[in-house]
């Protein structure tokens, strides 16, 4: 009979009218994010970071901008780690490529901002910079002997000739040739 479907439909909506609601008041109540959630700001474990720049190179959109200095012991350190969130696809490649597993998301999904400039997020904190300063000073106090005599190693930025001693992350890399 014509109209039967209409009545059943109305029964469904009436049931939901009195039933439990699925949404909730967002800023007061928040959904918990799972442990694998990708989103928010990047957080770096600065003390572990070896400034290998793999994260920046893995990024498909060049969203990560790094500045690296080399200290007197020829160890590299980050002086700035800018995450251009406006370009970020949250694809997780930077984190997966991190050689020391020292990069992760802070899982805060409320990252909207009024201006584009606000999306250029500086990952390093003041503590990190303080730590950097200490490390630099310590290294300057105890400089490494120069490798090649004719070119003394000076604490100059953008001068990273040799890779650092490898950390145990190397065993993760797989060296298998494609089948063909």
């Amino acid at each position: 009979m014509f109209g039967k479907g209409l009545i059943t439909g109305m029964r469904v909506t009436l049931k939901h009218f009195f039933g439990k609601k699925e949404t909730f008041c967002y800023p007061e109540e928040k959904l918990p994010m799972p442990e694998r959630f990708r989103g928010g700001h990047l957080v770096i474990d600065y003390k572990k970071c070896i400034a290998c720049q793999l994260c920046s190179m893995a990024c498909p959109n060049q969203a990560i901008e790094l500045k690296v200095v080399t200290d007197a012991q020829r160890k590299r350190h980050l002086t700035s780690y800018i995450h251009h969130m406006g370009r970020c696809m949250f694809c997780d490649l930077c984190i997966e490529n991190c050689a020391i597993h020292g990069l992760h998301w802070d899982q805060n999904y409320e990252i909207s901002a009024y201006t584009r400039d606000a999306f250029d997020y500086e990952v390093l904190t003041d503590d990190d910079r303080q730590y950097l300063k200490e490390v630099m000073e310590a290294a300057a106090a105890n400089p490494a002997p120069p490798i090649v005599p004719k070119k003394p190693a000076a604490p100059k930025p953008a001068e990273a000739p040799k890779p650092e001693p490898k950390k145990p992350e190397e065993n993760k890399e797989t060296e298998v040739k494609p089948n063909e």
């Binding site: 439909g9 109305m10 909506t13 939901h16 009218f17 039933g19 439990k20 609601k21 949404t23 909730f24």
Partner: protein
């Protein structure tokens, strides 16, 4: 249960005015304006309450919470916020529109919607103009709302609006006919076109929804179409023609359309209550209470329709009116006539 609330208030206001003016005739004139003000007050209050109600009903049926920000947990001040937003919006006048017609349309639309309220018996004795051709006048006034839609659609100089305007004419004219014929059954039983008589007749016997169930259904369907609500909201069909005649209006002008829509929704609920649900009549409680309870129930029913059904297509809708509703209404009228004749001759 006589005039416990509204009537008493009116009496009191009248005595105050009489005290100030000291002239019976003048007082009556002033009282007419008070009544007018009361009617407009009802409309404005209804618009506020109904927007809130619609948002909440919609949200609850869609398993959402609905407005919950402005005015506490339940968003009670949401209509006020809406109103403020609409008032502070920029008034955009589209280039190339027919200015005068365009500006007149929302105002003219509001006139018939407001005018009908003068005829409604809200309670025993509480009616602004108890005309003896009430039903006739009512249908005459309500059919006037076609023109402003067409004006708005034509004058906006937009194709969407124009299609919407044309649809309005087709839709409202076709649903006018079954609506009138469905009401005629009621009029035939009552033997009067006076609204208060119709209510009184139901108070004496039974509600007409029991005597005229088919007319009731036809009336509900055509009333939905007349007020442009889903499933017959082809005039402002947002998925096809964006917003129809309202597409080019913004700010307060759009708010007037909005106001008229809710005024229409309320008036159609009041009509249903008056013609089929016994008006203010009911046991124990004061009439005003019964009246508004029935009206709000009808409002809920119309909202319920809106948030359950998809909308029809324009050709289906028109053919439904002419091929199904109108013959049905005529048949209903015929049987009512026979029934009334038999009953009268038996008496």
């Amino acid at each position: 249960m006589e005039n416990l609330t509204v009537g008493a208030a009116a009496e009191w206001i009248r005595s105050v005015i009489l005290l100030i003016l000291g002239n019976e005739l003048l007082t009556d004139v002033v009282m007419k304006f008070v009544g007018l003000g009361a009617c407009i007050g009802v409309i404005l209050t209804a618009a506020i309450v109904l927007t809130y109600a619609e948002r909440k009903v919609c949200a609850f049926m869609q398993v959402r919470l609905g407005p919950n920000r402005v005015g506490g947990r339940f968003g009670l001040l949401q209509p006020i916020a809406d109103m403020l937003k609409l008032m502070s919006k920029e008034d955009i006048i589209p280039d190339g529109c027919d200015r005068i017609v365009w500006a007149l349309s929302p105002m003219l639309l509001f006139v018939p919607s407001a005018l009908i309220y003068g005829l409604f018996p809200f309670d025993e004795g509480v009616v602004f103009a108890d005309v003896n051709v009430g039903v006739f006048l009512l249908l005459a006034i309500s059919s006037q709302s076609v023109l402003p839609f067409l004006m708005g659609g034509y004058a906006s100089n937009s194709k969407y609006a124009f299609i919407g305007g044309m649809r309005t004419v087709a839709q409202m004219l076709s649903y006018e006919a079954p609506m009138v014929f469905s009401l005629l059954g009621v009029v035939m039983i009552t033997g009067s076109m006076r609204m208060t008589d119709i209510v009184a007749a139901q108070a004496e016997n039974v509600w007409f929804v029991l005597l005229q169930p088919i007319a009731f259904i036809i009336f509900i369907i055509s009333a939905t179409a007349e007020t442009n609500r889903t499933p017959f909201d082809l005039v402002e069909d947002e998925s096809e023609i964006v917003a129809g005649p309202f597409a080019e209006y913004s700010g307060m002008r759009w708010a007037l359309f909005f106001l008229a829509e809710y005024a229409n929704l309320l008036s159609i609920s009041i009509l249903t209550t008056t013609f089929f649900l016994g008006g203010w009549h009911g046991p124990f409680l004061p009439g005003v209470f019964w009246f508004w309870m029935k009206v709000l129930f009808m409002v809920f029913v119309f909202m319920w329709f809106r948030w359950t059904f998809p909308r029809t297509r324009i050709d289906q809708m028109l053919s439904f009116s002419w091929k199904v509703l109108l013959p049905l209404a005529l048949v209903n009228m015929m049987f009512t006539g026979i029934g009334v004749y038999v009953w009268r001759s038996m008496m």
